[in-house]
């Protein structure tokens, strides 16, 4: 390197991040009692966490295969829109989806009305079934997108060759599709498993009790209801062990990109006629119904009532928007500093620091930060800043995935030209880095803002007198003000999508 690698802002951010995460984890470890302090319930929570994550992953992946196949080989009006919508759950606030699922699958939902009319037994949405249902709702679309990418990665020449050899659909499945699935499915399964491992909001709203409590929820209960900090910390260690174990497993399996681009390429596999045509249509309709019906139900109930929302909901909305924007700017600033340093060839530890948030769940970070800060501030004072910081940290790995390749390409293509012209510091940021990275920056900021906007995690540990919009929504649900809750849900969903859209579009305004 020309002048060696100077210590940059990126190193500073990496060090700060490592201090924040590892320091927090150390605090948790320091406070943790021995495993003997855990009750039978806690061990059940550990078992349930693993079990529900495995079942959710298996169901999502299995159900996604026919949907992805149908989408890969059929072309119809609205297909592109449907594929785009499959990406939406990633930024859909969890608590909003739960409202929708309750509207359809709850006691007074359409599904149970139908079952009652037919004289069949009702299904319950609370308990483990609800947790699994919600996880499949969120992760089926993700799995479909990942598997669809697999289908589209099969070169169309292979399908043409198969056609010229007179392959029947069965032969195509055997020689082309099953090998692809064998390659894609383990990563898809693991991606869903990882997401479900840190599930908190779903378990909070639909689970609970001895048979449907995740470790994250157990941390919350130990912290909030028993105020047993030692047990919360021990559970936190258990959660970290789960995440680290799953991450180590993930090193052996390629986990595909969850929120990628480029979903449409090539002509896709041949579209067989006969009963398969009808079956594909049915599969696509059912999947679309499963995903859209709950959201439509919420929108229909909630949208007309938004003007009637009480002022405290609007205050919560404003608070949430401000916090989401703060989180997004924090996350994107840190991402940019890290990505630029990584692109200049910094050591692996900078990149590792950026991925550290993956091993710490929000509730573990919240517990740790509380332990560290409790002499300096009250829980009420901590609530909002800690939430902003934790949400920013949680968004980092996603932002880095978008920014690192772009920053590397920028360095590769224009780094030498900029150096030769002595383009440095602020001028380089303004005239080269920001304009060239506007798109991934906007995308990363949108993602971070939407995730922060919809998050109902660490805030539940602390505050109730300054609720965010998701927390306010949860409080409305708990007091059975379902009409207001539906309206708040529509508002929350609209704000989350709007924030994503605004930032993402902002990045596309070509300077």
């Amino acid at each position: 390197m020309a002048a060696g690698l100077p210590l940059s802002l990126g190193h500073l951010v990496a060090a700060a991040l490592a201090t924040l995460i590892l320091g927090t984890l150390a605090a948790v470890a320091w406070w943790a009692g021995g495993l003997g302090g855990l009750t039978e319930w806690d061990w059940r929570a550990l078992w349930f966490t693993l079990w529900q994550a495995a079942l959710s992953a298996t169901l999502s992946a299995a159900l996604a295969v026919p949907v992805a196949r149908a989408l890969a080989r059929r072309r119809f009006r609205g297909r592109g829109l449907l594929v785009t919508l499959l990406g939406a759950p990633f930024i859909l606030p969890v608590i909003v989806a739960i409202m929708g699922l309750i509207a359809i699958f709850g006691r007074n939902g359409a599904v149970n009305e139908g079952l009652r009319a037919l004289g069949l037994p009702e299904i319950g949405i609370y308990g483990w079934q609800g947790v699994i249902l919600a996880h499949v709702f969120f992760n089926l679309p993700l799995s479909v997108r990942l598997i669809l990418q697999g289908w589209q990665s099969i070169p169309s020449e292979r399908f043409r060759l198969a056609a010229s050899l007179g392959f029947a659909p069965r032969d195509i499945a055997r020689h082309l599709e099953r090998p692809m699935l064998r390659a894609v499915l383990p990563g898809t399964w693991l991606a869903v498993f990882l997401v479900c491992l840190t599930s908190f909001t779903v378990a909070l709203a639909l689970g609970g009790g001895p048979r449907a409590t995740t470790v994250e929820l157990a941390i919350y209960q130990a912290f909030r209801f028993d105020f047993d900090l030692g047990r919360a910390a021990t559970l936190g260690l258990l959660q970290i062990a789960l995440c680290v174990g799953a991450m180590l497993a993930a090193r052996r399996i390629v986990v595909p990109q969850a929120f990628g681009t480029g979903m449409d390429g090539g002509e896709g596999p041949p579209a067989p006629g006969g009963w398969r045509r009808g079956a594909d249509a049915l599969v696509i309709t059912l999947a679309a119904l499963f995903l859209l019906w709950p959201m439509m139900a919420v929108v229909v109930t909630g949208l007309p009532r938004i003007p009637l929302l009480p002022p405290e909901v609007w205050q919560a909305a404003l608070r949430s928007v401000v916090m989401a924007i703060a989180s997004a700017l924090l996350a994107v600033g840190a991402c940019l500093a890290l990505a630029l340093t990584i692109a200049r060839g910094a050591g692996r530890w900078v990149e590792a620091a950026g991925m550290l948030p993956l091993i710490a769940s929000p509730l573990v970070l919240g517990t740790g930060l509380f332990i560290l800060l409790r002499d300096a501030a009250t829980p009420q004072q901590m609530a909002l800043p800690v939430t902003v910081a934790v949400n920013a940290a949680m968004a980092l790995p996603f932002g880095l995935r978008a920014l690192i390749p772009a920053a590397q390409a920028l360095q590769q293509d224009y780094g030498r030209l900029a150096d030769a012209l002595d383009l440095r510091g602020w001028a380089r940021l303004r005239h080269l880095t920001l304009p060239r990275l506007a798109r991934p920056l906007g995308f990363a900021a949108g993602l971070a803002a939407a995730l922060a906007m919809g998050d109902l995690g660490v805030i539940t540990l602390f505050a109730s007198d300054q609720p965010t919009l998701p927390l306010k929504l949860y409080q409305l649900m708990n007091s059975y003000r379902m009409a207001d809750a539906a309206a708040a849900a529509v508002l929350l969903m609209g704000l989350s999508f709007a924030l994503f859209w605004l930032f993402d579009q902002g990045g596309r305004l070509d300077a």
Binding site: A2, L417, A420, D422, R424, A427, R428, H431, P435
Partner: protein, 231 residues
Amino acid sequence: MTLEFRDIGLRQGNFSLQANMSLRRGGRYAVIGASGSGKSTLLSLVGGFLTPDQGGLVWDGQNITDLAPGQRPVSMLFQHHNLFPHLTVKQNIGMGLRPDLRLSRTQQDQVTRVLDQVGLAGMQERRPGALSGGQQSRVALARVLLRARPLLLLDEPFAALGPALKAEMLALLSRIAADTGATVLMVTHDPADARSFAPDTVLVDEGRVHPPCPTGPLLDNPPPGLRAYLG
């Protein structure tokens, strides 16, 4: 006044480069050699993108080995990416005067003047994407002209142009080099370019940089390594 390569050695994995020579001020040198022989590495050393493991680079009596690329008395044209696609022609050229683009009235006039000189009058506000390949090369050359640095390095910037356009660019380049009195080092794959543009040629053969020889005799009577390359 010379550019001296004083016992320069550079190692990159299995590859190593040695250079020990001096180049005359105002001279024009072709740099010739097979792919992977180290031509671009040699230019990167002069440009400041690589630092030698041993030896030093001296320009006009001053050791420039440790200067950052932008601080060196060097303008460089790369094979690709000589212009920022999101900036206008005027901004791309202006960056050669002030990277922060806060150009004074006089400096703006200078930009207009060099654009005129390379035959692109009135195209200030265009983006590189709206220009042809030849016009893009002219913009890059206009910036070289404006910066007027005494060393000019060309890493095959015109390789993608057709023969007629390339000849045109070399003619423009000759004019600019003469105007600014620059010492030119030009990597090329084309012996005809070397003959027409550079009286002297530096041969790079498997990491060894040979001191410059007159181009004509070298190409008429090449040593074995170069003979194999020229075919």
